[in-house]
Symmetry: C2
Subunit: 383 residues, 2 copies
């Protein structure tokens, strides 16, 4: 499973001592070939962590031999010293594997503004290299957890080829991308340009539409590595769909494990004039703290949906808006619709439909409710 579901990959997850509690904190994923094509998508936050700056450069070559990931520290806002630490980490991995540092991506997650303990991280790379295995995917997924309560993996099978992956992320989840580290692998025999095209298409409709708390990270990284080990080159559409399916699966797991969340909220914007309008409206609803509190209280407070729609620049007329919550059209033509007492909100998933009555475009954004547990987790813990 995980990043070793596809042939041609080994992985490991070890405790290097970066985390003070002794939990696993260092993961290594190695593409054993024969092909070593890769693509990556990174945070659109302009304050980028050192490993993001490094990996963006590395990915320009379209080749990755390995990815080293650590939890226990984001290595963001750490200045030139932080960038040197990322570089030294890539050099260390290259040395241990006998590859080139320019083919090693680095990803970090944890507290911003703290330097990584390199005296622990570098020996950890030796330890991880020694533990590399074709069955190491689960351990790698475990080692990148921060406040995640479970590790996240997913797999899609093609005809003779596989796409698998792992993800971490629980807070600071917002688009562009959602805050997280994701490594996807495939044994399909595809080139870097195809990987890039499939990955961007997939993230745009999956991770980019997961918005747990509106906070965009400095460290978001999604990588897709191809080993070619299956010796099969699938058609683009088939391959892209498999990548999308794995991204969608992992994105759903991120939402279900979001910090403190009690409800998963699916916001479906329909009849928008264009997809951009649909996404803008969906995000605005997803980021409305008052609505998120109401959902937590199982209160179908549709007025908060309308007030969120009203802050956007999307095409609509206020008196043509319709809103359904869990199948009940509580707002019709911008006014009172069906009886709100008919809405059953006992279950974890809440489905909001916002009908803009302005066209035929649609988009779905996922978010969570806002809870006291979210406040506690993010006020008591420096993350």
């Amino acid at each position: 499973m995980s990043v070793t579901a596809a042939k041609g990959f080994t992985a490991a997850g070890v405790a290097a001592g970066i985390k003070e509690n002794g939990n696993p904190d260092l993961a290594l994923v190695v593409n054993e070939g024969p092909r070593r094509a890769a693509a990556g998508v990174f945070t659109s936050n302009r304050v980028k962590a050192a490993p993001v700056l490094w990996s963006e450069q590395v990915l320009k070559g379209g080749v990755l031999s390995a990815v080293v990931l650590n939890s226990g520290g984001a290595n963001a806002c750490t200045g030139p010293r932080g960038f040197q630490d990322t570089h030294a980490t890539a050099e260390k991995v290259a040395e241990v594997l006998g590859r080139d540092a320019a083919e090693v991506a680095v990803a970090s997650t944890g507290l911003i503004g703290v330097l990584l303990p390199m005296d622990k991280l570098l020996p950890g790379v030796d330890k991880a290299a020694a533990a590399l295995s074709e069955h190491g995917g689960e351990k790698a997924a475990i080692a990148i957890k921060t406040t995640d309560t479970v590790h996240k993996t997913a797999v899609a099978q093609g005809d003779g080829w596989t796409v698998g992956g792992m993800a971490k992320g629980a807070g600071m989840l917002a688009p562009g991308l959602a805050t997280m580290l994701v490594v996807l692998t495939t044994d399909a025999d595809v080139d870097a340009d195809t990987l890039d095209r499939a990955l961007r298409a997939a993230t745009k409709v999956t991770f980019d539409r997961v918005d747990s708390d509106g906070c965009m990270s400095t460290n978001d990284t999604v990588l897709l590595l191809a080993s070619g080990a299956s010796q099969v080159t699938p058609g683009y559409a088939e391959f892209a769909e498999a990548v999308r399916a794995v991204c969608d699966d992992l994105g759903q797991q991120l939402i279900r494990d979001a910090e403190g969340a009690g409800k998963d909220i699916r916001i479906e914007v329909v009849n928008a004039a264009g997809e951009d309008d649909a996404v803008e409206v969906g995000r605005s609803i997803a980021r409305n703290n008052l609505l998120k509190c109401a959902i937590h209280g199982e209160d179908p407070n549709w007025g908060r949906v309308l007030s969120a729609i009203g802050t956007t620049s999307a095409a609509f007329e206020p008196d043509e808006l319709n809103v359904a919550i869990n199948g009940v059209w509580v707002c019709k033509n911008g006014s009172v619709g069906e009886d709100r007492d008919l809405v059953d909100m006992r279950y974890r998933e809440v489905h909001i439909v916002a009908d803009l009555a302005a066209g035929d475009a649609t988009a779905t954004i996922w978010t969570n409710d806002l809870t006291a547990d979210y406040v506690h987790e993010n006020s008591a813990y420096s993350s």
Copy 2:
């Protein structure tokens, strides 16, 4: 005090039975003249409540004889029937006072999507008219409270003239304008154009920069009425400053009474390339839930400030950003600065300075921390 601090105004606040708990819920403010000039600023939410749509039209004439305000229901998203109810309310006030309905502004606050109980509201207008008094300002301020724990009034004195006002607002506080109802009165002898100019200048740097929870209301209304009763026409600068001072005072009271808040956060953006950049950055920081949770936990988590700045389009270089929390420069040149343990966060006010090192413009945005009490209040109570 309040709206009756200036000469030429009477006011009243009564319990009309709109609120089920029997608390005061209807306020009436009457301009007794001789002048009846007025200006207004309203929510920029495109989903506007019926009273906002009505009052915007009324204000185009630049004349107001009275303002009628109710709590216990926002009359937003209530369709044509809701608009008719607003119209009927204005007609009733006009009839009772012997004035024209086109000179009566209406403002409502409370739950969105519920029709007002007109059988209680209209008799309430009679009751309020009978209670009108030159000392009625406090009672009017009390009658417009929703989740406010205290009523809010402010006064500024000029040389022979006065500006006074009242405000309500505790949740759904965000710019454009902050969610609230505000009525300001003055006995200065100024025309409607001057009122409009002074009011827009004042709200832009006060209410518009109060962002408690990022949620923009459907009902925001700020009105300024001039009676001319002092027979003094102050210079524009002096008058505008008095209006600004009253708006600033009321805005601060809104922040201090924000739902569930334990900390008032003053975000001062300095050395921005322009004022728009400063405001954009300030708002982005003010809306970062993770930072707001950290402040609640008295954790000077400056990484969350940088990640919020990074999502903006403002001019800055990531490695030139500086951040101070309560006087300690915890971030210098985009990296680790002074020891975060030096930051004393025991007090209610928290002062964050974000230095963009990109120019000489500045702006200050006020927000609150995010607390479990905010979640409780907004999940248990349909507001």
